[in-house]
Amino acid sequence: MKRLTSIQDLDALRQQILEKRKHIRKRIRVCNGTGCHSQGSHKLVDAFEKVLSERNVAREYMVVPTGCNGFCAAGPIVVIEPEEVFYQRVKPERVAEIVERSVLGDEVIEDLLYVDPTTGNRIVHEYEIPFFAKQQRLVFRDTGSNYVRDIEDYISRGGYSALAKVLSSMTPEQVIEEVKISGLRGRGGGGFPTGVKWESCRRAHGDIKYVMCNADEGDPGAYMDRSLLEGNPHQVLEGMIIGGYAIGAKEGYVYVRFEYPMAVENALWAIEQAKEYGLLGDGILGTDFSLDIHVNRGAGAFICGESTALMASLEGKIGEPRGKHIHTVEKGLWNRPSNLNNVETWANVPLIINNGGAWFASIGTERSKGTKIFSLVGKINNTGLVEVAMGTPLRTIIEDIGGGIPGGRKFKAVQTGGPSGGCVPERLIDLPVDFEKLKEAGSMMGSGGMIVMDEVTCMVDVARYFLNFLVEESCGKCIPCRVGVKRMHELVVDMCEGRATPEHLTKLEELCHAIQETALCGLGKSAPNPVLSTLRYFREEYEAHVYDKKCPAKICKPLIQYMIDTDKCTGCGACRRRCPENAIIGVIKECHVIDEEVCVRCGVCIETCKFKAIYIE
């Protein structure tokens, strides 16, 4: 490939690619996102390629390994274009048949289709599936259909046209103005206006400036940054290059956690390709703008997602934050002006440039513009990545898109904002989701994790979980966080283990406020949030633990007991044979019992019993 040395070159290349692809009759999209991958989708790609080449039709039919399709619950997913026939839970054994009937032929294979759980109907096309119907996929539009390792696929979709537009017709100030008009706010958690940040970095003094991408994604339960970077790395890169031009940077960094090896690999590969095509490096698209971008792995500490800690760790120091009286846009990496944005923030930029800031600002709510990608996980039927306009009611996300709660259970709460966020209870299900409304509800947008909880989730246990996480992840630099959060954790553990007194509750609340006010960085300041929000909405659950020594959700082990229902037990002995502790006693065909002293409450028996005879008391 020869380097592109002008805007015209890029347009010509796009035409060429489209021309070259005219003979392709069908594309077979195979999701290779993390979810599908862990269910074996990589074997599908090989199998398709093998069958197509055996049949000598590899030229007309193209196998496309893509990033996350979004509907991870249905994975591994295969979609056949142009009709968009959607096959779910596909196994390699079915590949030959799919090629025979649905690729070479135009048949639909019934048993691979998605079944609508409410109507029982089989749905043929991707766009007809309710999961997708109420979404507004803008940023995530191409992630599930883009050929991950092929820059030409991205270019054929209009990729890098925003960069071309910027370099050929806009000054850096105009770019910043457009981003300001769009109202884009950072997607990494805080929601700081992106254009304003860029402007201060542009104005900051210094010859060398950095653009940086925060792909640390420390929120446990969130994976949209990972999926974007894995599935459409060029979109993120294009955003960064535009940002680099706007602020006047010559160098950039993508900071990815090492637990995401595929994201690291794809980002590296995209950078290589972009350089080869003259879209990155020296003299981009024949202009005098040059930018170099590196990928650095983080070592998986939550605190390293915080901007000052991230930069410290990049410099080879431990990832401790510092006070932010001097902003990183003025003195960041190596004390030089550094503009850090989240992956999803960067991915929004090409869209804004292509369609205009005003278009972007027409989507969303008064103060939260555009869309947001959520990772909808936990106790929900349709787990996956969901992109909706800001302000979409929680009900739409949980019920329409998410398909409700499995097992006929009741929706209890949704946790948003990760360890800095909180739980939004069932009675606020009509809450429109945006930065402000979540904050009012005592939670946070965070990076967009939505962990759905049902009746059998214990909110005190959830609080304990986050406190434990934060104790482990606190860098220990400031006392309120190091000592305070630890003390909070001890108090909540006492509650979960039946040792708490009413004083525990008062102390816990006092600590929350003290830590909020005195901690050094965002981690400590927001550490009390999961506790405060659960106390606010689920106080009675705390009280049950403290006063009655009961766990209403039946989760906290010291407060529960496994029992066998004498009416339901058939004496089949299955549980007795599986119990790893030999805690179950009984003879065949007679009712069994559990020895409470020996039982470690592991749940193996409940899962084993076919007669639903075992219950928790």
Binding site: A73, E259, F302, G319, Q415, Y465
Partner: protein, 156 residues
């Protein structure tokens, strides 16, 4: 030993002997040997011209780094939020009891190490357990019990 230092040098050369490479070098060395041998830290310190205590503090700060040899098979139980609400604690208890290890511990024969991780980004199929790099999704205590049997048979 000589071989090990050569490997460390190769990693350092790949990244360049400069401070911003420190974490990258340490990640690669840690991955290669499954822990950070003392001599490797010494070497990194010399070549990057960084004080050894700074390198130790970085090694202690991040949980992924181990200063002790770890097992040939790594069992990592995800304890991210999605996995937690879907029953990760029960899985962890199961593994803990069956292997006789607490998270962070390694069997004496260096066959197995048990660890917990915070979200590996496969939350949609929670709870997940990663065994030697392979992700097992939608785990249950029963499935876990059979997996452990398999691992034990293999490492015996």
């Amino acid at each position: 030993m000589e071989q090990m230092l050569q490997d460390v040098d190769a990693v350092i050369d790949q990244w360049g002997a400069k401070p911003e490479s420190l974490l990258q070098i340490m990640l690669d060395v840690n991955h290669k040997f499954n822990y950070l041998p003392k001599e490797s830290l010494q070497r990194i310190s010399e070549r990057l011209r960084m004080p050894i205590n700074q390198i130790y503090s970085v090694a202690n700060f991040f949980k992924v780094f181990s200063l002790m040899p770890r097992g040939r098979t790594m069992v990592q139980v995800c304890t991210g939020t999605a996995c937690h609400v879907k029953g990760a604690p029960k899985l962890l208890d199961r593994v803990r009891q069956d292997l006789g290890l607490d998270p962070g511990q390694t069997t004496e024969d260096l066959a197995l190490t048990l660890e917990t991780v915070n979200c590996v980004g496969a939350c949609a199929s929670a709870p997940v357990v990663v065994i030697s790099g392979e992700t097992h999704s939608e785990m249950t205590p029963n499935k876990m019990a059979s997996l452990i049997k398999e691992i034990k048979a293999k490492s015996a």
